[in-house]
């Protein structure tokens, strides 16, 4: 009950006119940041952090978290319209969002994405409000072995449930792992596969790879197909929002499942990216129209977006209660908290009640404001597709180049992006799936790190992955997901034999 009173007090703080203004400003800035691929939420928040030093800590965190919401919403726009995911967790949104846009259903896809984001985030905020203290102690149980198990599950649920030829999936994934291995080996502290080239010290950044593979690769494909930019006949009025809303309740099961996956992945904290991939993979297998996934199925937009946003929101909880950021953006917010003299950790909820509940209240309001802002803009975004390709393609190229440059302020990355573009084009021509490659680049080095940390701790024994109930059950879930097709086949055969 006391929590509820605190929350209402928080609403009173967040609803002050100045804070509402700050909220809207934050959302708009965030959408702009999200639309620019590569700039990303983390960089955007870092750049704008000094702007907030003159505000009170509560207004400042409201502004920064609204930039965060805005960036989350904005990331979906370029994924759907141009097949360029601005953030790692938007990759899975492109699988069905972009085909929808090509079929002239950009408005529907955007509405579904924005609404799902809202639902996911709302679910996570409600969970934070109700069970914050319980969740914090759950997160403490996660050592390296448990973390590896979660990554393992993410890989397995994506690969085992995919319908691509398994060898092409594995080949693409191995290319991803090889790319992820370049750079500093964080366990031994030595350089790997850099061949003395100093530009490779940092390894291959995920964002550069994705901007190239998806964005540039797509432009090359479209050029080959004769410069026709499909999707120009998108409906551009607000009625499309209402029509889509009528369809969405049918996918409540997918939504709920994605919310749970997202919250769980956000708290552990594995982050929004594995959550979106895992949720998409499971939805693809379980959904009635799962066979149509990848061809422009609205459910294929709902699943990853809901999970990504539930995870992104839930990730703020371990940051506040434990001081461990669940995402890069959360890490920058953490730096901000310290500058304002707030010490995240177990005592924050006790000593800084006004701040914490002001932040939680602003999550509710910021999300709602964000939804309204982006939904009213759906027709404008969809109208972008009416611009002739010969005008929009150079603009996308420039946008991609700026995005790639801004990741590390390095021109080498722009060249790298073009190389990845050609690679993406070739892989698509040969029908290799890009998603496993991307998944391996994003999670490859994290999974490797957790794996080796666990083995260091267990002095080389693989038994550590089955050493307690938590880690064993996640590992077993992963194995079931990996061999799902075989299990299903075996079950059907067994039934026919018995019958």
């Amino acid at each position: 009950m006391e929590e509820l009173a605190n929350l209402f007090h928080g609403f009173a703080v967040a609803l002050q006119p100045f804070n509402i203004m700050v909220m809207i400003l934050g959302i708009v800035l965030g959408v702009v940041i999200g639309v620019l691929p590569g700039l990303g939420g983390a960089n955007g928040v870092a750049i704008l952090l000094p702007l907030t030093f003159s505000m009170s800590p509560t207004s400042a965190i409201i502004m920064l978290s609204c930039i965060y919401w805005g960036a989350l919403f904005g990331g979906a726009i370029t994924s759907i319209l141009f097949n360029i995911p601005g953030e790692p967790w938007s990759v899975a949104t492109t699988f069905d969002g972009y085909p929808m846009a090509q079929q002239g259903k950009a408005g529907e896809a955007l509405t579904a994405a924005f609404t799902s984001s809202f639902v996911g985030a709302l679910f996570a905020v409600i969970m934070i409000t109700l069970v914050a203290p319980l969740v914090a102690s759950f997160a403490l149980q996660f050592g390296p072995a448990e973390k590896f198990a979660v990554y393992f599950l993410a890989f397995c649920s994506f690969v085992g449930l995919s319908k691509e030829p398994p060898f092409k999936t594995i080949a693409a994934m191995m290319i991803g792992f090889a790319l992820a291995a370049v750079g500093l080996d964080s366990i031994t502290g030595q350089l790997r596969l850099t061949f003395g080239v100093t530009e490779l010290l940092n390894g291959f950044d995920f964002l550069i790879a994705v901007i190239g593979l998806f964005g540039i690769g797509e432009i090359l494909l479209t050029m080959e197909e004769g410069l026709a930019f499909r999707g120009g006949n998108a409906k551009i009025n607000l009625r499309v929002v209402l029509q889509t809303w009528k369809e969405l309740p049918a996918y409540w099961m997918t939504s709920l499942r994605s919310c749970l996956i997202g919250c769980w992945m956000g708290i552990t904290p594995a982050g929004a990216t594995p959550a979106s991939f895992m949720s998409y993979g499971i939805a693809k297998r379980v959904a009635k129209r799962g066979n149509n996934f990848g061809k422009g199925e609205i459910e294929g937009v709902v699943a990853p977006e809901t999970a990504a946003h539930a995870a992104g929101t839930a990730a703020l909880l371990p940051m506040l209660s434990l001081g461990v950021p669940g995402s890069p953006t959360a890490a920058v917010l953490l730096g901000g908290l310290l500058i304002w003299g707030l010490q995240p950790g177990p005592m924050l909820f006790v000593e800084q009640k006004e701040f914490v509940w002001g932040l939680i209240a602003s999550m509710y309001l910021g999300n709602l404001v964000g939804l309204i802002v982006v939904l009213t803009c759906v027709p404008i975004f969809a109208a972008i597709l009416r611009v002739p390709f010969s005008i929009i393609a150079p603009l996308i190229l420039v946008l991609c180049a700026i995005g790639a440059y801004s990741v590390h302020s390095s021109t080498f990355d722009v060249v790298l992006m073009l190389v990845f573009g050609v690679l993406g084009y070739l892989l698509k021509k040969c029908n290799y799936p890009l998603a496993p490659l991307v998944l391996a680049i994003v999670l490859g080095d994290k999974a490797e790190e957790a794996f080796r940390q666990s083995l260091l701790g267990s002095q080389g024994s693989l038994g550590v992955f089955f050493s307690n109930a938590l880690v064993s059950s996640i590992m077993i879930l992963g194995l079931i997901a990996l061999f799902w097709t075989a299990i299903q086949e075996g079950y059907t055969r067994l039934r026919t034999r018995l019958a």
């Binding site: 030093f53 964080s186 434990l322 953490l334 310290l338 950790g345 177990p346 260091l456 002095q459």
Partner: protein, 335 residues
């Protein structure tokens, strides 16, 4: 954009007011200054750099904006090489941590601190030996006894990075106590502290700022500080204990001292005037209450050095790191 317009407006106003006095002033930045952080966002060096950026903006200490850029690739090697390659560019400064020495030694990248121009030592960061508060070890002796009884390698020490400061201290503890740890490297100090709270490792050597929240929350217990004298801050943090009440490791029979440099360097071939400008700037930063508050929150050792003193200190530290890392077998084959 917004910020640069603001700063142009400010600098125009300042220039009008100061034009008569400024005639004698020496060098000043004429475009935005890049402040390189050779580590990721959210870590100790990053926090310090962003605090400085905040102080400079808030108190209007520079006419040009100060822009923080993270170049963390290759354990910071990316940042150091970037500044090394920017000779004659006085608009680039870098904040260092111990990876100034450890990264070139462990990876063999073509870099040495002598490639850069030393500006000033801002502070030294302390290291404290932490254990989980649920564990029975009340002091260093209890802990060392437990270490000696455990089979070698079964006790786990968590730390930030590999072949960097945390692991160097771990090797120092092993030498001083005769015990053997399994060292597990993590990405950041905050994560290390939480792994200790969750009992996934047995001890850590976190910096004060990384573990203070867990100490205040009653989850962790400090055993000793790896400094020659106790820390200066006497405000109680937890159980009526202050940073000052943590004994030095040496006084507890664990003979290891280690402090980490938080210093500023600039690009090669900087002139005296340019170095003087930044020394003056950091003196102004140090005088603000915000900086003093920050020093207190992280229990920093506030030693300040410039010029030859600073260069000499860095040189001594480099030699020490060479010895420590050689003994630990951390040197890259090419070194």
């Amino acid at each position: 954009m917004y910020r640069s317009i603001l700063s142009i407006a400010f600098s125009a106003a300042a220039a009008l007011g100061a034009s008569s006095i400024a005639a004698s002033a020496a060098w000043e930045p004429v475009r935005p200054v890049e402040f390189i952080v050779p580590a990721g966002t959210g870590g100790g060096a990053d926090q310090m750099a962003r605090t400085i950026q905040g102080i400079v903006t808030k108190h209007n200490l520079m006419k040009q904006p100060l822009v923080v850029i993270n170049k963390s690739g290759g354990a910071g090697g990316e940042g150091f090489l970037d500044v090394k390659a920017s000779q004659n560019n006085p608009h680039k400064i870098i904040i260092t941590l111990s990876n100034l020495f450890t990264t070139p030694l462990a990876t063999g990248i073509p870099f040495n601190w002598k490639d850069l121009t030393p500006v000033a030592m801002l502070a030294l960061d302390e290291f404290v030996l932490w254990v989980n508060a649920e564990k029975p070890y009340k002091n260093v002796k209890d802990y060392v006894d437990a270490l000696k009884q455990a089979s070698p390698g079964s006790m786990k020490m968590g730390g930030t990075g590999s072949k960097q400061e945390d692991q160097i201290i771990t090797v120092g503890i092993e030498k001083a106590s005769g015990a053997k740890f399994t060292y597990i490297p993590y990405k950041g100090g905050g994560e290390v502290a939480v792994q200790l709270v969750g009992n996934h490792v047995d001890s850590t050597v976190n910096n004060p700022i990384e573990a203070i929240a867990q100490w205040r929350g009653g989850k962790l217990r400090p055993l000793c500080v790896f400094d020659g004298k106790p820390m200066a801050y006497d405000e109680p943090i937890a159980d009526g204990k202050a940073w000052k009440d943590i004994p030095t490791c040496k006084s507890q029979g664990l003979d290891m001292e280690y402090l980490m440099l938080r210093g500023i360097f600039m690009a090669p071939k900087a002139t005296k005037d340019q170095v003087a400008y930044y020394i003056d700037l950091f003196n102004k930063v140090r005088a603000t209450p915000d900086w003093q508050e920050f020093m207190k929150s992280g229990a920093f050792n506030t030693t300040f050095m410039t010029g030859d003193d600073y260069a000499k200190w860095v040189e001594t530290e480099e030699k020490r790191h060479q010895v420590l890392m050689k003994e630990a077998g951390f040197l890259a084959p090419s070194n």
